[in-house]
């Protein structure tokens, strides 16, 4: 049994798609051989096909408690680590004539391939950014799928980890995860995924993706900490929702859904009757609870627009940066880190 559960809330109204989270994670965790193509954290434009491509159509998870078959993504569907002619460009002595080019077969997909395409028609086009990481689910489909018990959910904080000494690279976890956030390391022949920066967590430091976010998008903390933002956003205000809750894994990463600008009507006037991002689309991502969440966000925003105060809006703005991390606010630069 998990005694406590760490969680993350991401406010999609604030994400600018800068990928700082993605790179912060990459530099920390996926620089070794066999990890070149891995992005434990991705940020994709919605609506879009995502990473891996069309992952939402790959199955997995549970229905009425029963495991659902999933499809194993291919490397190219994630987007492989492309090789470039760096030697030519930097050392080939050809000056400006040498252009940086991908070597080998031209790729047809990558981890951020359909960036900023979004949906809708001019002048009512819309898009928003969806950062994704392992959801450290309460009922992890990956853990249930592994015949070797190579995936563990830590009782003390609910972080889900692959035991690399047990893993034999059978990839049932990759099939079963409905979020497709597990990668296969071909060099080491095992599965790897987001570790919620547990070595940082154990030192009181928030995960790198959260701490490095310039937009103050991410909140971190224990789900049951009533004095911290996670509990207030998820349980009290109910404005933070799991992605695709229908998969039955009970994610512990939550999203504050995006409020888009209003539409323009045929005359070019603002049409306040309908949102630019269709509610149906957001419901397809976050379930029916998204409508109440959006209504709450609108109400509280209007309160502030009317010169009132809103505890929710103050919380989401994140005036005090360190308060976003549920006590995991220690400065990593003050710690002497040692290699494992």
């Amino acid at each position: 049994m998990t005694q406590r559960q760490l969680a993350m809330v991401l406010d999609l109204n604030k994400c600018i798609g800068c990928q700082t989270c993605t790179i912060a994670c990459k530099r920390l965790w996926t620089r070794d051989a066999g990890m070149e193509h891995m992005w434990f954290n991705t940020v994709n434009t919605q609506p879009g096909r995502g990473t891996p491509r069309d992952w939402e159509k790959m199955g997995g998870g549970f229905r009425a408690g029963m495991p659902q078959p999933g499809r194993l993504p291919r490397r190219g569907e994630f987007g492989d680590a492309w090789r470039y002619n760096h030697d030519d460009v930097f050392f080939g002595g050809q000056g400006a004539d040498a252009q940086l080019r991908i070597q080998g077969e031209a790729p047809d997909w990558g981890p951020n391939w359909d960036e900023d395409q979004g949906g809708g028609e001019y002048p009512n086009g819309y898009h928003f950014y969806l950062p994704r990481l392992c959801n450290h689910c309460t009922h992890p489909a990956c853990l249930a799928a592994c015949p070797r018990k190579a995936i563990v959910k830590r009782p003390k904080d609910g972080i889900v980890l692959v035991d690399e000494d047990r893993c034999r690279g059978f990839r049932f976890c990759m099939e079963a995860c409905p979020y497709k956030k597990i990668y296969f390391n071909q060099a080491r022949k095992l599965s790897q995924k987001c570790i919620f920066c547990f070595p940082r967590i154990e030192q009181g430091v928030a995960p790198a993706c959260a701490r490095q976010c310039p937009g103050r998008v991410r909140f971190v903390g224990y789900r049951d900490d009533r004095n911290a933002p996670i509990w207030k956003l998820v349980e009290q205000w109910k404005v933070a929702l799991p992605l695709h809750p229908e998969h039955g894994t009970e994610p512990n990463v939550f999203y504050v859904p995006p409020l888009a600008p209003y539409r323009f009507d045929a005359q070019g006037d603002v049409d306040e009757s309908r949102p630019r991002i269709p509610d149906e689309y957001l419901e397809s991502l976050f379930g029916p609870a998204v409508r109440d969440a959006l209504a709450t966000l609108k109400t509280e925003r209007a309160r502030v627009q009317g010169r009132g105060r809103s505890e929710l809006m103050d919380l989401l703005i994140g005036y005090r940066w360190k308060d976003m991390f549920g006590g995991f606010d220690r400065d990593p630069a003050t710690i002497e880190w040692r290699p494992a």
């Binding site: 194993l72 249930a144 034999r168 049932f172």
Partner: protein, 223 residues
């Protein structure tokens, strides 16, 4: 089945599945079947393979030789596809293993049981080293050594020939009781067809009962 003795075998020759040495061994044709889905420890695997066929390999030709020091099995089976390189994340490698009891009453059906270990000598086409594995029940297998089991595989004209060998007297958790005394011991064979997605408990096996193997006594033991 009997493992003939050939004293003083050169290990390189023994590990060559195509070496003439192997013509001196008795060959048994063992029918294989898919492992029962109910034995899969993962509810996900049971659900995902409900409508898929487990057990792509119908039979295996097994031979065994020993020299009083080491015991070698030669497995040969038909496989139209050579899956020896994981060219993509949805590809799996061909593999084979011989299982032996590491405790007298160890059940083969469940790959041993707590306190009743089995050992498996495991070869996989994409790995440089074979593994000595010990299991005490389904899902509990662990690699205990990577330098005790020697193996080599050759794929030719639609069939794999693989030799898997280990010292008769190897100790450790994978030690096989009674090996080399001339008494019959049990063994089992498993083949994984990587091209069909077979891995872990999804495989063809020689069944829920131990096959019987006797080692021909060495000349010194005979005298």
């Amino acid at each position: 089945m009997q493992a003939h003795v050939i004293p003083g075998i050169d290990e390189a020759e023994l590990l060559d599945p195509l070496h003439a040495l192997w013509r001196r061994a008795d060959v048994s044709r063992i029918a294989l079947s898919g492992t029962p889905l109910g034995l899969q420890p993962s509810p996900y695997v049971q659900a995902a393979w409900r409508d898929r066929r487990v057990g792509a390999t119908g039979h295996v030709r097994v031979a065994a030789l020993h020299d009083g020091v080491r015991l070698a099995f030669r497995l040969e089976w038909e496989d139209a596809s050579r899956d020896a390189v994981l060219t993509d994340d949805d590809r799996f490698a061909d593999a084979a293993a011989v299982m032996l009891p590491a405790a007298a009453e160890a059940p083969i059906y469940t790959m041993g049981a707590p306190g009743l270990p089995v050992t498996a000598w495991y070869w996989r086409a994409d790995e440089q080293q074979a593994r000595e594995i010990v299991a005490e029940g389904v899902g509990s297998s662990r690699t205990v050594a990577r330098d005790t089991v020697r193996a080599a595989g050759v794929w030719q004209a639609g069939r794999w020939s693989v030799v898997i060998a280990r010292s008769l007297t190897a100790g450790g958790p994978g030690a096989v009781q009674g090996l080399g005394t001339g008494a019959a011991i049990g063994f089992g064979v498993a083949i994984w067809e990587g091209g069909s997605g077979e891995r872990a408990g999804l495989k063809s096996w020689s069944g829920p009962a131990w096959q019987s193997l006797t080692l021909e006594p060495t000349p010194t033991a005979r005298s």
